[in-house]
Amino acid sequence: MKNTRNRRRKVEKSARPPLLPPDAPVTIITSSEDAELDFLKKRSLMSSAMIIAFFALLVARLWYLQIQEGETYTDLADNNRVRYVEVTPPRGNIYDSEGREIVTNRPSFNVVLSRENNRLDDQLVKKVAAILEVEVTDILDRIRKMVGTPGHLPIRLAEDIDWEKVAIIENSHLDLPGIRIEVVPLRVYHYGNYASHIIGYLGEINATELENADRTVYEPGDQIGKMGLEKLHEADLRGEKGREYMEVNALGFEQKALKGVEPLPGSDLQLTINMELQRAAEEIMERDDKAGAVVAVEVNSGRVLTAASSPQLKLDEFIGGISTKAWQAMLDDPRHPLINKVVQGQYPPASTYKIVTALAGLGEGIITPDTTIYCPGHYRFGNRTYRCWKKGGHGEVNLLRALSESCDVYFYQVGQKLGVDRLAGYAQRLGLGRKTGVDMEHEKSGLVPTTDWKKRRYNTKWHEGETLSIAIGQGYDLATPLQICMMTAALANGGTLYRPALIERVRDPDGRILKSFAPEVQERFVGQGQNMRLVRAGLVEAVNGPRGTGKPAKLKGITVAGKTGTGQVVKLKQYEHLKEEDIPYQYRDHAWFTCFAPAENPEIAVTVLVEHGLHGSSGAGPVARAVLEAYFKDRLAQGQDVAYMLVPADAENSQGVN
């Protein structure tokens, strides 16, 4: 056997060359015909050519798809697989002048379900419903609403849940696949509804806003400032949205998270508003159930320290969209809570306008401080009798008494001598009749009538008698509380009219100051220093004098200078005989009080308007006083008498009497 095997191997070795001669022709075909072999060769060649041709075709196609159009298809592939959801940035905070938080954000916790497929786990829904203490159907409804939306978008199951529920959900994480807690910033109003008209509120962007908005920034469902500073400083406050990128599968469900872009928080606003003064103003207005406006500005800069409009806007009613019913109720409310009365309310300035008339009279040489006029309680002009508010009359009055006791007859005569146009010139230089340009919406410009104006408006001649009404701030005269306040500030600082400002600074999240307040002078009323001092003296007397009309605003230790005003709403004979309290609300007079303090070196000007508040003195005075008390709180507590310690601001500017 062994032998045989060995032999066989030998045979194989020796047999190989003859079995396969390297140059042997491929001829040993069964039929062995040359023709057949030729035919076979031809066919093989053709088949090979076909195979190579198809190979070339496929390679060419691959070249086209992968090399020539490769970029296009790569983009398509990326569009296929990458989705993103936007992350809302925390909105900028709003602080008051002292750095107190007015509006900030708090984290709110929402429960979201990330879908991995279209199947819904009943057990999961039941568990979540139990934890959230809601009906299973509520959860199912929310899920149903999202059916058909792109699968990578999470479903929100509950909003703003409390911390305990968050803890339960976080702890049973393994039990609740796909359930996540989403943290979304929500607005917190630390001062409730205080300053609500100027702060404004947020709401879901509506169709019109979307149309005008930058579509790279806003999307349907976004929150946007709807009113006040939230609206006017939207660009500063909103920040930049972040994006969470994710890879999705063909069904659109999230597979894995990709690198995202962090949201950039909005810039913070620091206001010039001092919330303690604001609170003082609003508290007293609220307490006495007054409708109106309270404005306080820093005399030497135009910083608005307080801007209150009463009744307050109820911010919580606006969160998540206000109901038509609530909106209609606000529209119908005779106290007009929707109106920001600081700039949108136009009222006859009444006796506060006597400041203008007095300055014009002095400036135009119609009167001197010593000019006296006899007041019998009325003034006859043409065939009409113009009454003084004091029926018995003031008797012999000079400028000081005329201002402090607000004698109408005195100013009728001054006005009559001035004429309406000269008076209007002074009013305009004090900022009346035009918008102040403050950061508030829908500001009204008020009205300073002139003969030209009347011609344009009514196409009639100006009647001399009308000038008399104008001189005491009635008739066509209209002004906003802010205008009166700025006028008062200009009077207090010796003639500089500032643009009222609300924004102290805008600070980005890194602490960089983007915008900073700088006083902006709108008008410099030069050459009136002495005259202004005289008028200021009259105003000091009005508050501090024995017969002054502004006594309710008097403070101990701080000299307040002020002017009352009682704006006639309507002149109806039928109400004249009634007691004031019996006149229907909407026909009662408006009450004004405008003042500044300390009189010797004014810092703050405060203007109060109480709608249908009857008398400037009693209706508006105490409100102004409350604001002043809040402003001077420290100095009043220390009993520090700052009076006469400082040089009046307009000391150098004292030429120009007459």
Partner: protein, 382 residues
């Protein structure tokens, strides 16, 4: 020269001439292993779903592939000449299986039918392609061709093709049925036809196509073709599949996204990504370079097959080798043109590369037979 008494020729099926090892077709084996290796790598990627292990599908295919490679040994150990007669027996067996499948097995998902053998689910339409090639080669090798075949000469082979064709159409498996028709055409063209026959067949073919379209095609089959001709009409279904496949291939760019990094496949944008669209995954992950390398290996394997036909020792061997090459070639071309967006979705796999046991085993048998023919290219005297 030889030892006649040491190598008895009485049992040719069982006898193994060790000298055959010397003539073993190493080139084909190398090409086969290369292609199979790439197929496995691709299958690993396309079926992987995040776990630490490969998918069960991958292991299943791996085992079938190993089995197929081992199967090559017995496949080359007998003389293919035996198939000249045995082929008709296999043909009969396959017909029985097709009848069984067509009338006794429930259709799954409206298409191909399997016969469940417990350990393996056999698609009888796959081996049907192979046995058709064998019997046609056998038939034509005996046929005297002369000036070319006339129409009457085609009746017998035509019937041989038509019977499995009809049985597979019943299933209904349009793709495989079409493959039978294409194989028949390839074979008769190879054998040589008269010009008149070609013309007559052309007319017949067009008529058949019209009838086919109008009466025999199922709704969804018609839709597939309509969609292909007008992809915008149906962007989300058939057109969607082709579009996603093109995106996958195109986004591979020059060097691909990298192994396991394809997004189209892994994120399920690609339909049938481990079966019919397996090459899309490859093209996406390996890019133009990898695709050309793969196609190079694959088509070189086919050319090598043609070379085997050329060097076969007899007409049966040549016809058989040609038929086997065409069987792989047409499936590959149709599949690849579909993947690259030039043909409608017809459900034809890429042989050796797409997942599927029946197709893989059938293709392995083809390759094994090709190697068998190659090894016996010269009359071995023993």
């Amino acid at each position: 020269m030889g030892n006649r008494h040491d190598s008895p020729r009485r049992w040719p099926m069982l006898r193994f001439d060790r000298r055959l090892i010397h003539y073993f077709d190493w080139v084909m084996l190398l090409l086969l292993l290369l292609v199979c290796g790439m197929a496995l790598a691709n299958l690993f990627s396309s079926t992987w779903n995040g776990g630490p292990h490969a998918s069960p599908i991958f292991y299943k295919q791996l085992y079938i592939m190993l089995f197929g490679v081992i199967l090559i040994l017995p496949l080359v150990s007998f003389d293919y000449k035996e198939l000249d007669t045995l082929g008709f027996i296999f043909y009969g067996m396959v017909l029985l299986l097709l009848v069984y499948a067509a009338f006794f097995v429930q259709s799954i998902a409206g298409t191909q039918r399997w016969i469940d053998l417990g350990f393996f689910r056999l698609q009888p339409s796959e081996p049907a392609k192979l046995v058709l090639v064998v019997v046609l080669a056998s038939y034509f090798s005996r046929q005297e061709v002369g000036e070319g075949l006339g129409l009457l000469d085609l009746i017998k082979p035509g019937v041989l093709t038509a019977v499995p064709f009809v049985l597979i159409m019943i299933q209904p498996d349009l793709g495989t049925a079409m493959m039978l028709a294409i194989l028949f055409c390839s074979m008769i063209l190879f054998v040589k036809l008269r010009w008149t026959t070609i013309a007559a067949l052309g007319v017949l073919g067009i008529t058949a196509a019209v009838v086919f379209w109008k009466f025999l095609l199922k709704e969804y089959q018609r839709n597939r073709i309509e969609t292909f001709l007008n992809p915008e009409g149906d962007p989300m279904n058939q057109g969607y599949q082709i579009m996603q496949s093109k995106i996958a291939v195109g986004s591979g760019q020059a060097f691909g996204k990298g192994f396991m990094e394809g997004t189209q496949g892994h994120l399920h944008f690609l339909p049938e990504r481990h079966t019919d669209f397996a090459f899309s995954v490859w093209a996406e992950e390996w890019g133009f370079a990898g695709s050309v390398f793969f196609l190079g290996c694959y088509f070189f394997m086919l050319l090598w097959g043609i070379n085997i036909a050329l060097s076969a020792r007899d007409k049966f061997g040549a016809l058989l080798a040609f038929g086997l090459v065409m069987l792989i070639f047409w499936q590959a071309v149709i599949n690849l043109l579909m993947i690259m967006g030039w043909l409608p979705v017809v459900g034809i796999p890429l042989p050796l590369f797409s997942y599927g046991g029946s197709s893989l085993l059938t293709t392995m048998l083809c390759v094994g037979l090709l190697m068998n023919i190659r090894m016996r290219r010269y009359q071995i005297k023993g």
